[in-house]
């Protein structure tokens, strides 16, 4: 790791001010993305600004309509939060599948979606549930937030403060883990909204990051059942292909994981 300057602000405003002062500052939340990259010397921020201890960024609120998770809330806290489990069990389940227990104790939702790793779990939930990402400057809808591999709508220095998930009628998440890294080789989040709309997002599969799967959405809208997807064909075009999963295998996994997610959703 290159030398850097570590800061621990106590408010979002202070963090943003520190960022503006740094020549090439980076925010750090749980650190489980940034620190590994810094260790490999693939990132060399002048300043590291720790958001992890900012009180206004930690906590979970569950209302009648939405589960709102503040950005520096850990995966562990989401997975274990009783009201969140009750409101959107699939979301808590997803959090319980990220990384491993020690990673879940540190990793945060804000860090995960700001990084937008194409194999991360959270982006699929954010997109499928049609969540709203709130920052220190504005609100961004999920459909506008993810812009491709490791790219988001966030402006330089913008800080995610919370993510608000509308409570759906039904939702399920099924993940096929990458055998080595345990990221999603393919993970599919299926949602039936209270208004009857169906939204399905797949992570780990596409060359351009998390994506909606219209073919599956259409089939499930017509018939919300795993069997309804039997005849759906997913194209391998544009899907990732690597040592652990060829594109046609990933295309298969999108369908199979979607079926299992629907079954889990009930």
């Amino acid at each position: 790791m290159y030398e850097t300057i570590y800061h621990r602000p106590s408010s979002v405003d202070e963090a943003a001010a520190l960022f503006a002062k740094g020549s090439e500052a980076k925010y750090l939340s749980g650190g489980h993305t940034l620190i590994p990259v810094m260790k490999q010397r693939l990132a060399s921020p002048s300043d590291v600004i720790d958001l992890g201890k900012i009180k206004e960024l930690i906590g979970i609120d569950v209302s009648v309509d939405a589960v709102t998770i503040k950005a520096a809330t850990t995966h562990y806290d989401v997975a274990m939060n009783g009201p969140a489990q009750k409101a959107i069990p699939a979301l808590a389940h997803l959090a319980s599948l990220i990384g491993d227990p020690a990673v879940r104790h540190r990793g945060t939702i804000g860090g995960s979606i700001a990084n937008n790793d194409p194999a991360a779990d959270y982006p699929s939930a954010v997109l499928a549930l049609g969540a709203t990402v709130k920052t220190n400057k504005r609100s961004i809808s999920a459909d506008d937030f993810f812009k491709g591999l490791f790219t988001t709508a966030l402006a330089d220095g913008e800080i995610i403060t919370q993510v608000s998930f509308p409570i759906p009628a039904k939702a399920g998440y099924s993940k096929f883990p990458h055998p080595a890294s345990r990221f999603a080789l393919t993970g599919v989040f299926v949602v039936k909204t209270k208004s009857g709309d169906v939204r399905v997002a797949a992570t780990g599969a596409s060359q351009s990051g998390v994506m909606r799967v219209p073919a599956i959405e259409a089939a499930l809208k017509a018939n919300w059942s795993a069997g309804a997807l039997d005849s759906v064909k997913i194209s391998a075009d544009g899907l990732m292909s690597d040592l652990h999963g060829s594109s046609d295998y990933r295309a298969n996994l999108i369908k199979v994981m979607a079926q299992r997610a629907v079954t889990a959703a009930g």
Partner: protein
């Protein structure tokens, strides 16, 4: 350089370190607590697991500065004098270690698992929960056995306290 103050194994400590210093290096190089090991550079093997404020974390993926003000427990801090922690004893009694390199991290993760699950542990759960700790020697068979054994012992120990 910064001064990092934290509590390690119940004692207040302070160290002058570069800001890029990882917690594991603070422990090993500055505090001579070499029981916490480094087995990979991608936050996966778990040889470096310690507890921060009672939760298992990978100390290779935490800056020393992030741990400032926290209470850190390492493998050196879990026995009471000569009396082994029940997890340590279970690893010994069930041959849950061979070369010993992954063992400190394995034990710290295992204690965290039992703390979270209490007595509601079965083999599948233990195997799944050990996802973040890699052992090359044991095939995990006796590690799983050790954790299940210790879960019972820790329950008894807690009841006695």
């Amino acid at each position: 350089m910064s001064t990092v103050k934290l509590t390690v194994n119940g004692k207040a400590v302070s160290a002058e370190v570069e800001d890029r210093t990882l917690l594991v290096h603070l422990l090993r190089e500055h505090l001579n607590l070499t029981g916490t090991h480094v087995g990979c550079d991608t936050s996966q093997c778990g040889a470096c697991v310690v507890h921060i404020d009672g939760k298992a974390v990978k100390s290779c993926t935490v800056l020393a500065g992030q741990a400032a003000g926290s209470s850190v427990t390492t493998i050196e801090g879990i026995s009471k004098g000569d009396e082994l922690h029940p997890m340590q004893a279970a690893f010994r009694d069930n041959h849950g270690l061979q070369c010993g390199y992954c063992t400190p991290g394995m034990i710290m993760s295992a204690i965290d698992i039992v703390n979270r699950y209490g007595g509601k542990l079965d083999e599948d759960t233990v195997r799944h929960e050990l996802e973040g700790n890699i052992c090359r020697c044991t095939g995990y068979h006796n590690i799983v056995k050790s954790v299940l054994d210790a879960a019972g012992r820790m329950k008894v120990a807690q009841a006695a306290e």
